[in-house]
Subunit: 235 residues, 2 copies
């Protein structure tokens, strides 16, 4: 699988165009037949690319009409956040590394089930704090298995996405995952980290992300300050 499929190439091109604003919200993408001609593909291939965009929530298809571009929302990893007060996009996204990636054994009371290979390999551990408009909103604890990742503990993660590093340097891509959500009372540590007001609850998330490498899953525990922002998702 060293060659990238055609439908994937078209998907990447259109995705880039949408997020960069070549097509704006409400615009129609070129029709399937036009895309066929432009990129020299057949319709099934073009449709495969468009279906992937639909799955990502970037476009919306209408029979007889066309492919409509949807409003892209700001993402942190594969999570979207949206301001609750206004429709204004989320700005000034900053990442602070609280714990640089280090090699550890898996925690004894780890919430997730691990495969044997994951268990044996040990884990890489890191903590981050994310800021929106200079306010901390997002504290995440990440565990990855210590395989396929030479020299990762030497890398700089400041203002870089973990996913980006995994994709570009290690050819690891996130394909899907599962998550569990709860509203909880914060511990003292969490309240201080997220500058929470007294009595303000936090959104707690546990997620397991599947990748293209077998036995390589990313495990995250996330605390989210939902006072001024909300987790946003479309499906």
């Amino acid at each position: 699988m060293d060659t990238i499929p055609q439908y994937r190439k078209l998907y990447e091109i259109l995705r880039k165009h949408i997020v960069k604003g070549v097509y704006k919200e409400g615009d129609l993408l070129p029709s399937e037949n036009e895309l066929c001609a432009a990129y020299e593909m057949t319709r099934p291939t073009v449709r495969h690319a468009l279906e992937t965009l639909v799955k990502d929530g970037l476009i919306l298809k209408k029979q007889g009409k066309g492919s409509i571009v949807r409003k892209p929302s700001q993402n942190i990893g594969i999570l979207s956040i949206s301001g609750t007060a206004s429709a204004v996009g989320v700005r000034y996204l900053k990442t602070e590394i609280l714990q640089k990636p280090i090699v550890q054994t898996w925690p004894g009371d780890f919430e997730f089930e691990l495969s044997e290979l994951e268990q044996e390999s040990g884990c890489i551990y890191m903590e981050r704090l994310r800021y929106v408009e200079d306010e901390p909103v997002f504290y995440d604890i990440n565990h990855l298995p210590n395989i396929f990742l030479p020299r990762i503990t030497q890398r700089s993660f400041e203002n870089k996405s973990l996913f980006e590093i995994l994709r570009k340097n290690y050819q690891i891509e996130v394909l899907g995952g599962e998550q569990k959500l709860k509203a909880v009372k914060p511990t003292v540590k969490i309240r201080q980290l997220l500058h929470l007001k007294p009595g303000q609850p936090v959104l707690y998330m546990e997620r397991k992300l599947y990748t293209n490498k077998e036995n390589f899953n990313i495990y995250s525990t996330i605390y989210f300050n939902s006072e001024k922002h909300a987790i946003f998702g479309s499906f």
Copy 2:
């Protein structure tokens, strides 16, 4: 569109088999070619059905291996809940109607934007309380536009899914949606309804669900008691 597509039929059949336990977790579905032969379809059609199952999180495809059945989780509408204490499935799901569907005008301070047609039609309003193992966990407030729904206020909703009634009686199907999640302090009313302990926060959700009918969106506000259960999702 009065005839159901073939890929949809196969999807419904396989879905039923999976949720009824004909195939258990970890089982392999019949291969694509076997399904072709069994249901007299071609492979692209079969693959279309399987892709839909993947999207639903019911199966997982592996090149060279087959289609692996995943653990189905209990759903309320299109939301899944999972017990936090154990892997035991969620039992004893009960629905109580707090407010039978009535015709109203849209609330003045409605959180969502409405299309003109929706605004003009007025809305149907209902409130429900859902129980898991005889404990209230789920309070939802629903607004639907008052179109396409003759005699809906006369229908009984006890222990029936709103989605099921919409699908079977009005040919309305939910295709997707968007949602916003927060952790909030409950009001006194919510605390009483959900039997919340003092200081226990609630998971708050706003969702807009798109359907196959234009201008017919379902708007829900949901309060979820996440003390013993969690919202579960796969993607």
